[in-house]
Subunit: 477 residues, 2 copies
């Protein structure tokens, strides 16, 4: 019976088996379900509502920065995908191919977009003629398909939802500025809204996007010490422009190539929220993104006046996202459900509270109970939600600091990666051989070359030659 | 040069060539562009912004009626598509087939969803167990693919954006109620927001959705007298439930099949807006859906104070969707552009207006100029926008009434269809033979059996046998 499945069953503890804990949470907080389509997931109402809030807030920030939304076809003809050499090499092995339309074989097969650079370039080649047409600042919200072999809900699935921004500029400087602007927009969003601290930096050439001149990334640290690449922003220079002949006439009436960028964030962020904030009671959502910010749970709801007061409270708190759980389950059960679903606060109200003219606000993160006079509940709830949001970010930052290590030589590096899950900061000579060796021998990859560089040594942690840059290393999702 | 392309070129007149007028408007109002993917369109910022407003308003209404959003995979395994016989027969001839993932052929080919009944059914079969799980009221916003042979922007394209609602209920009555509720929600939305009057009714069996027990529709009349099916709502009874074994245990602990509905509206609505409201100057958007409700156009903008005042006006009018066109084009040019893009009002302000402390509000629909004291501009603009919205609906209703005819015998019917584009109301016996004959001989199809029945005769307009129902007939997009 479904009613039984909905019981709050114990979930695996994080310490015991983090991967199983994650799977338990996504299922039991009812974020996703598996589908008959291998590697694709069904995003259920509780999961999709988080994505809607992410969209709303990101979209507002995009539009404030001058970006407009468009929609491109979901198919890419094979010849179009092949126009930029690095790009096709990077993506061709993992696309889904459409070969038939109705009963007829297609003259040219098409892939379902894994990303839409080629479509935007094809469009821009027609659309852009003069410097007056620049910049183009377009974004689309859509789903993309990458034929992954192993998949995990939100983190890696064959189809996922995302936004992809694609811009075209007159100069290299402007393209670089937009690339960094969007990375910083992503980072601010993660910190301010998702309470998820991130390291901002540049990817090494080995890790950059297929076809990009430079890729910038934000990297977050999960509870288990693994890194999650949470958003990327690419500067293409004029590489795609040359492959697709996207030229404009400048003020002196000369033809020039445009400079382009692209940047994206996806439903992967939901995986990040789960793994940064969740605990052994389930999900924990930052108030700024939580579809329900407080659940009012009546105690002894059959007693006169209790349900009425719960309803009144809901109305009074209508500036927040509030629900009342007036189902016939026991209060204890409702508490567990609210905690499992990560609703950041609950308000308990029963006959004794009515007598005293109070209610009890309970924080999901600390379990702290705040007895609150009814006439102050609005101000108090606002304050509590703000505090939770702030402290969730602080706790995540502390966790990251505590799990960020410095390695000065290779022995130390290997020992840290083996024994202490987290970020390792170490100097690097810039050679891909060292990156390859580190990955092979330790499983750690270069996460990014942070904007905030520190001089922690003079020599490469791997080969001992003179170092060029400090890199964050780590095992990653 | 793009700057030249952007000039407001004359568009074909509606009377001369309606199809060409339509194509000119979608291109010159910059709603869409054609893509390298045959039959698929690129929705440009001005077009996508209309869709965003449609989404926002529809989504709000859905949620008020208890509907929750989810996201299903975009692929359907062939075996799943085949589970309901009528459904697969209806859709298999027009789907796109994915046969390869990466370098490997798939074990089972999958189609890109043309609609998602089969996916929702597969999901519901796992999700629903008890009467406590019902009703399920889910919706998704996504794109779907139907491999059409001939395509037209917004009206018929191989990929289009839509929403599809899918519900499951304990009883047949509840399913019927939801089917009609959503049809009425669609109709109210069209009339209140898009200023597009619609006929509400039921499709004949010949015209119903593949797999449905009954299909309900809203039908709008375009400026050229052709009908546009603008939204549909289907009652599936327990047909899909039996094919997919979606059962629940009722309160008496007995197994029963659920009853289901589905309902959808798409970017086709934008085609409807164009063809109901547009004129020979271009697009005309109802204020409730217009991404820009008023364009402030400074006159002699180099003169002191003009641009400043335009900026002040924009701030003062921030409760509306307002832009200032301070580009270097001439005012006349800007007027034409604003009219072409269908922005429902403009506000002209120049040095003489400044002297007099006034501005001029110009209605896009009637060209009426309203000299308005600056201190009253906010109230006046609100009033004008409301009036435009109301009168657009009235004009469209009058146009439809004027182009709705009654045919009492077949000769009259054929003459009307041939000579007078519009709806024809006529009695029908209920036999598909008559429908087929009418379609073959006149090109008109049954649009719907309206809820508001009128007794305009006793016998079928085609065969002369006793009539069962009055039908709206017409040529359709």
């Amino acid at each position: 019976m479904a009613a039984n499945k909905k019981l709050v069953e114990a979930i695996t503890s994080m310490e015991e088996d983090f991967a199983q804990w994650y799977t338990d949470v996504v299922k039991k907080a009812e974020l996703i379900d598996y589908s008959s389509v291998k590697g694709c997931m069904i995003i259920k109402p509780a999961g999709y509502a988080i994505w809607e809030n992410i969209q709303k807030e990101l979209d507002r920030r995009f539009k404030e920065s001058g970006v407009e939304n468009v929609y491109m076809p979901m198919f890419i003809p094979e010849s179009l995908l092949q126009k930029e050499k690095d790009h096709v090499e990077g993506f061709a092995p993992e696309v889904a191919w459409v070969t038939h339309g109705g009963m007829e074989p297609l003259q040219e097969r098409m892939c379902v977009r894994p990303t839409s650079e080629t479509l935007f370039c094809d469009f821009y080649a027609n659309e852009i003629e003069s410097y007056r047409d620049l910049p183009k600042l377009y974004n689309q919200w859509c789903s993309v398909v990458r034929w992954e072999k192993t998949t995990r809900p939100f983190l890696r699935s064959r189809e996922f939802l995302w936004q992809e921004g694609h811009t075209a500029h007159a100069t290299a400087e402007e393209a670089q500025e937009r690339t960094e602007q969007m990375l910083n927009l992503y980072a601010d969003f993660c910190e301010e809204v998702l309470a998820m601290p991130v390291i901002r930096g540049r990817k090494t050439d080995k890790e950059k996007f297929a076809g990009a001149e430079a890729t910038y990334t934000i990297e977050a640290l999960m509870h288990d010490g693994k890194a999650l690449q949470s958003g990327t922003s690419h500067n293409f220079g004029d590489g795609f422009a040359k492959a697709f002949e996207i030229q404009y006439t400048n003020k002196e009436n000369q033809l020039e190539y445009v400079h382009q960028t692209s940047w994206g964030m996806s439903t992967r962020l939901i995986g990040g929220i789960i793994m940064v904030h969740g605990d052994d009671s389930g999900l924990l959502l930052p108030p700024a993104i939580a579809p329900v910010q407080t659940m009012i749970i009546p105690i002894q709801q059959a007693k006169p006046g209790v349900l009425e007061k719960a309803g009144e409270l809901q109305k009074e708190l209508s500036e927040f996202r509030v629900k009342v759980d007036d189902s016939e389950k026991s209060p204890g059960w409702k508490f567990s459900e609210q905690e499992m679903r990560g609703i950041p606060t609950r308000i308990e109200i029963g006959p004794k509270d009515l007598e005293k003219g109070q209610c009890v606000i309970v924080r999901r993160d600390t379990r702290e109970k705040l007895i609150t006079p009814l006439e102050q509940v609005k101000e108090k709830l606002a304050e509590v939600l703000e505090t939770i949001q702030k402290e969730m970010l602080e706790r995540a930052r502390e966790h990251r600091e505590k799990h960020t290590y410095i390695a000065r030589d290779y022995e130390e590096f290997k020992k840290i990666v083996e024994e202490k899950p987290g970020f390792v900061k170490a100097m690097w000579c810039g050679s891909q051989d060292c990156e390859d060796q580190i990955k092979e021998e330790t499983g750690a990859t270069s996460r990014c070359m942070p904007f905030a560089q520190e001089q922690i040594g003079e020599t490469c942690v791997c080969c001992g030659k003179p170092a060029k840059t400090m890199v964050y290393w780590g095992k990653a999702y």
